[in-house]
Symmetry: C2
Subunit: 69 residues, 2 copies
DNA sequence: TTTAACTGTAATATATAGTTTACATTATTC
DNA sequence: GAATAATGTAAACTATATATTACAGTTAAA
């Protein structure tokens, strides 16, 4: 489940810890999402969008083929 | 958790049942998502996008305020 | 106005998203 | 190159997304 969270997070100058705190989630959750090892819920995706100021499509859209990752 | 799934599904002329089958999920899950009573996972959102041919933003973006619904 | 297709929803069960605690590894800075 | 911050990850736990079964309400067509 590839995504662009890490890039966007670095762009707004936040550590995983800081992003997690702003969202109200643990650092581990952010780490696993960035690594593509989690299948986050829509609510969490939207929270991340808010903080890093990107749209769902910008952060989470991936073509059907790459999605299996 | 408001969204535009129902509108998009009707546009492509599918019943909840048919959409559910194409995605590999139960009809109840689709019903509850359309009603905004579920917080679906990203993978499921992307599957719905595929079938109804819409983007994540088109189906699931909602402003921060309305999101609490 | 009955019949059938579609939808809403409730109860219980199961799978998995997210937490907690903890430790290891990889930058970064002194 | 030691100290510290940032990140990866594992195990056991908790919360919740989704399945299963079932039934009731709604709509449309006959």
């Amino acid at each position: 489940m590839k995504n662009n969270v890490k890039i966007a997070r670095v762009q707004v100058n936040l550590t995983q810890q800081q992003l997690a705190e702003k969202i109200g989630v643990t650092r581990q959750t952010i780490s696993l999402i960035e690594k593509g090892k989690y299948n986050p819920t829509l609510k969490l995706c939207l929270s991340i969008c808010d903080v890093v100021q990107k749209s769902l499509d910008e952060l989470f859209w991936v073509d059907k083929e790459e999605r299996t990752k």
